[in-house]
Point group: C2
Chain length 123, copies 2
DNA sequence: TTGCATAGGGATAAATTTATCCCTTATTGT
DNA sequence: ACAATAAGGGATAAATTTATCCCTATGCAA
């Protein structure tokens, strides 16, 4: 696995939460798990833009950060379920706030994101 | 400048907010600007772990996403001031929620972050 | 018996983000 | 004269994160 070389900044609350939520799909994973989509395959279907590989990796980090817990059922075909820990649950209102703001400002956001994209994307 | 190759996902509110806040220092920049630290040099002093270069780049993106506005005073030595747009201000409560959660769970966060770090860092 | 679903991970390439280094301009303080 | 401050950006290297591809295993259904 990749070995970090630059130590993280852990000065304030924003640093700390950033350290556990920084990852392209982590917030969505937490959200969908909270919604009851617990199995990796369900999560994959909810987030088709992500590869199975990255989801696994980010789930593992969420688990190491104790935001989710994982249960492996010893059956065949394999069955795995993730759920939020109490710690993870405490984050849901914050994620809800993020999502609501995004929803409320959907139009403006799309507009500025796409405007900037015009200059910076290869078609 | 770097040309993106992979288009962003813009399906839900979480995607959208992620698109404008994803960047190592962006949330902190918004926060400190809101606190009244408007000049680049002040921001740099508030965030010494970041290089001046990245802060400039991230400020530029925040500006392109219309979360902050920039005023250049035609004086020597140069003077520049950033401030939040109304759109940017609307984000402050959300950032406050992130920061509070981080502060409230400071101990646990430090613990899990460092525990995971033991396995993944080069000393 | 071929194919799909389930879960996961190694190896490697590519994409993206940050870090480093250096250079410019003009004024103020020493 | 020389260093410091202010702001910014080009060039390039390094770090970090994602994407791709491929391989394992087992029972069930067509």
């Amino acid at each position: 696995m990749y070995q970090r070389k630059i130590p993280p900044s852990l000065n304030c609350g924003l640093d700390l939460i950033g350290e556990v939520l920084y990852g392209k799909w982590k917030v969505r994973l937490l959200w969908f798990i909270n919604e009851g989509h617990k199995r990796p395959s369900e999560l994959q279907r909810k987030i088709p833009d992500a590869s199975r590989r990255v989801l696994n990796m980010q789930l593992k980090e969420l688990e190491e950060h104790e935001l989710v817990s994982k249960v492996i059922y010893p059956v065949v075909p394999p069955k795995v379920e993730y759920s939020l820990t109490d710690f993870g649950k405490s984050l849901i209102p914050v994620i809800a706030a993020l999502g609501s703001w995004g929803d409320e400002h959907q139009e403006h956001l799309r507009s500025v994101i796409l405007k900037r994209a015009e200059f910076n994307y290869i078609q």
